[in-house]
């Protein structure tokens, strides 16, 4: 046993059940007397419901119940929005579990049907007769804000959910005195998160006791319990939420959803377990989407490349209703990040959150930060092009120098630590950037143009101090909790409030305890995802589980160590201050041969035959950790592409990602997180888009139509690291869940634009499909 377990790429503890098909996801569960719910969803983007007739469906064999809004009026409060942005004139439209009178996106729930089996439910759903009076619809958030646009909610003029600003420095002076200004209109297209497990809920309400157990595909079971209580009126004490195995989330399982509340209501009405599982096409319509910004961006600079100001106006599509965390994503998580890795003197951003007739938009991996990084890093390349200097040079001119304990940027965030020049230089050296530029200078080969795309980034992670959460309108805390419990035999149970779903914390958290207390990782079991079994926690998102929950755990382990030291001193008849600790052994300083192991102490603490005066029995501790600040991981990425001018086909030939997330508990897991994040970002640049037609129909309505990255579309990603500990975190770690996604979209985009520069192309709407690239080339030819 060695403390070197911290930093070791050991195999994951969660994998044996996953590779043998014995893990249990929500849809794998079956309960006695269970029935199946199916949701009838609106086929219209915007329409008035003129009549609903459920009689035929209700009379069909196997159908147990059919409910519409009229049947549920008053039983469910509207689905809450839980990020109530202050100083923004926020207007929250009522988001009913089942739509009342008007449907506002394709996928809005119109009725729920419960039947004895899945096939019967789907069959009978078609027998519900609904008449609609179609209304005009609008999907583009900028258009939706203009006069004369279709209006979604009577009480919300201009479809404006909020107007939020961030400002620092004298932006007017920056632009008045600018020697050069570059600008662009950038579309961050809508994306569909595509967790491989669709959403599901199994609600089991016991009428006799008034108690509910809900198995739910969620990233934050305690938030689900809290909001389930608000919506259904059941006491939090009567609700148990279990997130069993969860098959990916990427932000899409952060929100609370109407379908979950409706499923619970069905169980309460029927007194039977009710299971609802989305189909994939339903997931595309009903589970939150990501991004959807129209961005107008301008950058002011001096001719020597010094950036003096960034000014932007963003129209952020919210979809038809405000999802749980939606208002915070294009604002707090976006606007505050506009300084990136650079010393900016002035910044001003206006963000308009706009209701549109699309699926609600909420956090999607990176959540606001990729959209901010894109604007800034795109502007850097445009500035370099305008000044005819290398994109590296314009970045180096503006990078914040190395700092170890705090650096305040113009948006008023206080970055914890960073060495951005080292990150960039490491990438350039590894890639042989100069060599690549020399190859590029030789000109196109057989009509194929080489392009290099850079992006640096800083990420805001480890959300975050709860006091800040309150100040920015987040309707919850942002601390995390951990309990460490030693059993008499020295085996350990850990209970955490966070709820990992694929990120591997059952392993990394065992490594933390192993490293702090010298127990074997195989003797540590991590419990999460059950509100009855674990302490309160705020969930897994914002790369916060290890950054916040891991800190809670490390501090808990240290409490255990302190107590164990007192017991060891007593058993060795020594003074506590004379005791030393190393690798799970407690001994009198200078005499390591005579020692007590943590296992010895665990036994004594549990039997309590010979405890020091005033020390309680048991070896267990709890910590509620509220971080003093966010963490700020950072990095630099480089994409190398070849673009065939004749066809517009983009080939990504190399991708180099350097991500500094501080010390790595398990580098194999860190690398895996980077791979996945990078590929999602590449997907946005090259292939992915949720496309609606003008009437608001979701054209990319199934996996047939939405272009997800596949194995054969990608190069081997070259992963690099630097290690810059966070000064305020007990382990120095910063978080890595979203890192790869933050820089990769704009790195690839910049690379394609770099390749097309000789052809006169400066801007193409993402994704950069061959058709769009080819058309842009033709247009530039004139």
């Amino acid at each position: 046993m060695s403390t070197r377990i911290f930093g070791s790429g050991i195999r994951r503890r969660e994998d044996p059940r996953l590779i043998t098909g014995t893990a249990t996801y929500t849809d794998d569960l079956t309960l006695p007397r269970m029935v199946y719910a199916a949701m009838l969803r609106s086929p219209h983007a915007h329409a008035r419901i003129t009549s609903i007739d459920t009689s035929k469906a209700a009379a069909t064999a196997g159908v147990v119940a059919v409910y519409t809004h009229a049947d549920t009026e008053g039983a469910l409060q509207p689905t809450p929005c839980a990020w109530l942005l202050p100083d923004s004139d926020l207007k929250v439209a009522a988001y009913h579990g089942i739509a009342k009178d008007v449907v506002r996106y394709v996928g809005d729930i119109v009725a729920v049907l419960v039947a004895e089996d899945r096939y019967a439910a789907e069959d009978a759903l078609e027998l519900i007769e609904v008449e609609y009076e179609p209304l005009p619809a609008v999907i583009d958030p900028e258009l939706a804000h203009k006069d004369g646009a279709p209006q979604l909610h009577d009480e919300i003029p201009g479809n404006q959910a909020f107007h939020w600003t961030v400002a620092g420095g004298d932006i007017d002076a920056a632009f008045a005195q600018a020697e050069v200004v570059v600008s662009d209109r950038i579309i961050q297209q809508r994306l569909i998160p595509n967790a491989m497990e669709t959403r599901a809920a199994l609600a089991s309400y016991t009428t006799a006791t008034g108690e509910l157990t809900l198995w739910n595909t969620t990233q934050n079971p305690h938030i689900v319990r809290y909001l389930m209580s608000v919506v259904t009126g059941l006491g939090e004490d009567k609700i148990r939420v279990i997130a069993p195995e969860v098959g990916g989330g990427f932000g899409s399982k952060l929100a609370v959803y109407p379908a979950d509340f409706v499923t619970v209501l069905c169980s309460m009405r029927l007194g039977r377990p009710v299971k609802w599982t989305e189909t994939r096409s339903e997931n595309y319509q009903a589970t939150t989407h990501g991004r959807d910004h129209v961005q107008h961006v301008e950058l002011a600079a001096k001719r020597d490349g010094t950036v003096t100001g960034l000014r932007c106006t963003v129209y952020a599509g919210m979809g038809a209703y405000l999802s749980t965390a939606a208002p915070g994503v294009p604002t707090i998580l976006h606007g505050l990040m506009l300084s990136g890795a650079y010393t900016l003197q002035a910044v001003k951003e206006d963000v308009y959150g706009i209701y549109t007739n699309g699926t609600p938009v909420d956090a999607y991996r990176g959540a606001g930060r990729p959209e901010a990084t894109f604007m800034l890093e795109r502007m850097m390349d445009l500035l370099a092009a305008e000044l005819e200097i290398d994109p590296v040079d314009v970045r180096k001119k503006n990078l914040i120098p190395k700092f170890e304990d705090g650096h305040e940027v113009i948006t008023s965030l206080n970055y914890d630590s960073g060495d951005y020049p080292a990150a960039l230089n490491t990438v350039l050296d590894h890639a042989d950037y100069a060599g690549l530029r020399a190859t590029q200078a030789e000109g196109p080969a057989n009509g194929t143009y080489l392009g290099l795309g850079l992006a640096t980034y800083v990420e805001l992670c480890g959300l975050g101090p709860s006091q800040v959460a309150g100040a920015i309108g987040f309707q919850g805390g942002l601390w995390e909790s951990a309990i460490v419990r030693f059993h008499p035999s020295g085996k350990v149970h850990i209970f955490i409030g966070a709820s990992p779903h694929g990120q591997g914390e059952e392993t990394t958290f065992a490594q933390i305890v192993s490293s702090e207390l010298g127990v074997d990782t195989n003797d540590v079991k991590v419990f999460h995802g059950d509100t009855d079994a674990t302490p309160m926690g705020w969930g897994t998102y914002g790369s916060r589980t290890t950054a916040v929950g891991g800190a809670a755990l490390a501090l808990t382990a240290r409490k255990i160590r302190d107590k164990a030291k007192v017991i060891a001193a007593h058993l060795l008849e020594a003074a506590v201050e004379d005791m030393d600790y190393e690798d799970g052994k407690f001994f009198v300083k200078g005499a390591p041969d005579q020692h007590k192991t943590i296992t010895d102490i665990a036994l004594m603490a549990n039997v309590a035959w010979n405890m020091p005066e005033g020390v309680e029995a048991g070896l267990e501790a709890t910590t509620f950790y509220d971080p003093p600040n966010f963490t700020f991981p950072f990095g630099a990425h480089l994409a190398v592409v070849e673009v065939e001018a004749e066809t517009g086909v983009v080939t990504l030939t190399r991708y180099i990602a350097l991500d500094d997330c501080g010390p790595q508990i398990n580098p194999v897991i860190v690398e895996g997180q980077v791979h996945g994040g990078v590929v999602q970002g590449i997907g946005q640049a090259l292939w992915e888009e949720a496309v609606y037609d003008e009437g608001g129909q979701l054209v990319t309505g199934s996996m047939l139509d939405y272009a997800l990255p596949r194995a054969d579309m990608l190069p081997e990603i070259e992963v690099l690291n630097t290690v810059t500990p966070s000064p305020h975190h007990p382990l120095g770690v910063k978080g890595v869940g979203e890192a790869g996604t933050i820089a990769s979209t704009v790195a690839v985009y910049n690379a394609v634009m770099d390749a097309l520069r000789p052809l006169g192309v400066t801007s193409i709407r993402m994704p950069l499909t061959p058709e769009r690239v080819w058309q842009a080339i033709q247009q530039a030819k004139g």
């Binding site: 195999r11 994951r12 969660e14 994998d15 059940r17 996953l18 590779i19 043998t20 098909g21 014995t22 893990a23 249990t24 996801y25 849809d27 794998d28 079956t30 064999a61 196997g62 004895e116 089996d117 899945r118 096939y119 019967a120 998160p193 595509n194 967790a195 491989m196 497990e197 669709t198 195995e245 969860v246 098959g247 990916g248 990427f250 994939r280 096409s281 779903h501 694929g502 990120q503 194999v668 690398e671 895996g672 997180q673 791979h675 996945g676 994040g677 990078v678 590929v679 999602q680 199934s702 996996m703 047939l704 997800l708 990255p709 596949r710 194995a711 054969d712 990608l714 081997e716 990603i717």
Partner: protein, 167 residues
């Protein structure tokens, strides 16, 4: 499902062997094989990730050859042998592919993994020593959103090595 099919009176008797155990059941003719596995006999290791046969999460072996079990009816598997992820290990001894996915961190949330492992099984059955590029092409019918596929490629390569050593 079985009850309802019987109520409608439109059922067919099938005999399907799953992981060496034979199951005789009355099923509706329209019942998908994946629903037979998951809902009729309760073998939930096989996953459903889409409704258009894109994602490959439901991949199983039918008489030793891989197929997406959402693309077949249960009646088409009548008299045949199905191997699912639950039947791949030899007792407590993992199949080299399972061990390789574990060793090379070829999974994160694990939802695509059963299908991915069985698709990889097919790949190595038809090409025991694939290049990285051949692995990537061989798995293009299976979606993973977590891993970016890189460690899956490494896992399949690793398993190919192990299996070559066993021959």
């Amino acid at each position: 499902m079985v009850t309802d099919a019987r109520r409608c009176g439109l059922t067919v008797l099938v005999s399907i062997t799953v992981n060496k155990q034979r199951y005789e059941r009355q099923v509706e003719p329209r019942l998908l094989l994946v629903h037979f596995l998951r809902e009729v006999i309760g073998s939930t290791g096989t996953k459903i990730g889409c409704d258009t046969s894109q994602c490959g999460a439901c991949t199983v072996l039918l008489d030793g050859v891989s197929m997406k079990s959402c693309t077949a009816l249960a009646v088409q598997a009548d008299g045949l042998e199905v191997t699912t992820i639950e039947g791949l290990a030899n007792g407590a001894e993992l199949h080299p592919l399972q061990d390789a996915f574990w060793e090379k961190h070829g999974l994160q949330c694990g939802f695509c993994t059963p299908g991915m492992i069985l698709a990889s099984h097919e790949l190595l059955r038809t090409n025991p020593d694939p290049t990285d590029e051949q692995i990537r092409h061989g798995l293009e019918g299976n979606m993973c959103r977590c891993t970016g596929y890189q460690n899956i490629v490494r896992a399949v390569k690793h398993a190919a090595g192990t299996m070559a050593g066993q021959r």
